[in-house]
């Protein structure tokens, strides 16, 4: 298995990378961690005429935060985000989800921006972005724009990024202080893409759920926000019966595909299971802000 021939560029600035993409149009591909693109090239499922390698642009790798938002440069390795103290403090949901992205050797190279831009329907990061209402920053010829998660994912492996745009930053709202969180998934083997996965952030007030956010992966062409289940949970008192009700709402709304790994019916079932598990764990971690009004 060898990739088809290509012309190789390793620009040292973002502007140069954008210019190269612009000059070469649809035949050009950005190379970040290469953990999705290079397998496709080795199998000749992708045959870009031009490869623009952004690994020599260190300014694209950083993790920064203010009180509300954590900003991660696109070239930040998944492993660097996973082990970052800032991520652990502000967005432990991201850390927990990253631990299940492939294996450590994959995460040592694979980037945060690459995972989002690749838009695999079973990727952990796409669901984290969707459930937190995150955003990405894209830079093209005509300047910079910010794209909310809801407008980014179009379908399988397809985003609304233009061919000559570079995703430069992933912005994730911090998990609110005191909120509980959880990432749960079922995969055939440890480190495999999930058959179904769920992320939850739960904010409690006076013994009831003030806000629930649920994001799902592996259950359709784009990451799914489980709005119906979120509405079921809002204002209610946590209980096993309530978790089952939320799981039923999830099963009613998702439309998974079947493939060689699992049937659609099994994925639907597992979706409910992982949501229940995640709700249970998130509830256990939430500080109950009794007396406050959320």
């Amino acid at each position: 298995m060898k990739p088809a021939p290509f012309e190789y560029f390793a620009p040292e600035s973002l502007e140069h990378a954008v210019d190269l993409l612009h000059a070469h149009g649809d035949g050009a591909k950005l190379l970040a961690g290469g953990q999705s693109l290079v397998p496709l090239m080795n199998m000749r499922l992708a045959r870009p005429a031009v490869v623009v390698d952004i690994n020599r642009i260190p300014a694209l790798a950083y993790i920064a935060a203010d009180t509300e938002t954590i900003r991660i440069g696109a070239l930040t390795r998944q492993r660097a985000a996973e082990t970052s103290e800032l991520v652990a403090a502000r967005c432990p949901l991201l850390r927990d989800a990253l631990r299940l992205v492939g294996h450590v050797q994959i995460r040592n190279r694979g980037t945060v921006g690459g995972s989002v831009a690749h838009a695999d329907p079973a990727a952990e990061l796409t669901a984290v972005l969707a459930l937190l209402d995150g955003r990405v920053v894209a830079q093209g010829r005509r300047g910079t724009r910010v794209i909310p998660a809801a407008d980014l994912f179009v379908t399988y492996l397809t985003t609304s990024l233009e061919a000559d745009e570079v995703l430069t930053e992933v912005q994730l709202p911090a998990v609110p202080t005191g909120a509980g969180w959880s990432w749960m998934e079922v995969a055939r083997r440890y480190g495999d893409f999930a058959l179904a996965g769920a992320g939850v952030v739960l904010t409690m007030a006076a013994g009831a759920i003030a806000e629930a956010r649920i994001g799902l992966t592996g259950l359709g062409p784009v990451p799914v926000r489980a709005r119906a289940a979120e509405r079921v949970l809002a204002g209610r008192t946590p209980s096993e019966a309530l978790w089952a009700e939320a799981a039923a709402a999830v099963r009613d709304t998702v439309e998974p595909d079947g493939d060689i790994h699992a049937t659609a019916e099994y994925r639907r079932h597992v979706a409910g299971v992982v949501v229940q598990r995640a709700l249970r764990e998130a509830r256990g971690r939430a500080a109950d802000a009794a007396g406050s009004h959320g």
């Binding site: 012309e7 190789y8 390793a10 290079v38 492939g102 450590v104 480190g191």
Partner: protein
Amino acid sequence: MTHCEITVRINGRSYAGRVEPRKTLADFIREDCGLTGTHLGCEHGVCGACTILMDGEAVRSCLLFAVQAVGAELMTVEALADGDRLHPIQQAFRDHHALQCGFCTPGFLLTTLAFLRETPRPTDQEIREALAGNLCRCTGYHNIVKAVAAAAAALASDPRPGV
């Protein structure tokens, strides 16, 4: 086809070569540098046989192009033993029958080296998670897990500087 002149640092030595950009780092290491200890199982990132260290981190050499390794410090399985004296991790694999055909072994050894540097006193669960990205068709894994635990103990009592 345009070729690139590159120099890559492997095991403390410089290797010069003339490669097409599409040449994977794994192929460069094996074919151009003659370091055939790095094995290729799947060539799409799944099996871990091609795992090497790049600036101290375990990576898949089948998912990198040789041109990308310019400026990095690489380590392959050839650097582990000191002449005939096996590295403590290799010795532990041998003592615990952690290999049969040995095809997967170079990848396991380098994965283990990077892992034990970061996690010198691992739990059984941590060992299993660390090895999850390497496939072995022969051993059934139990003996590999035992070998890594033994290697951790051996390294704790006799840490080798620089390795």
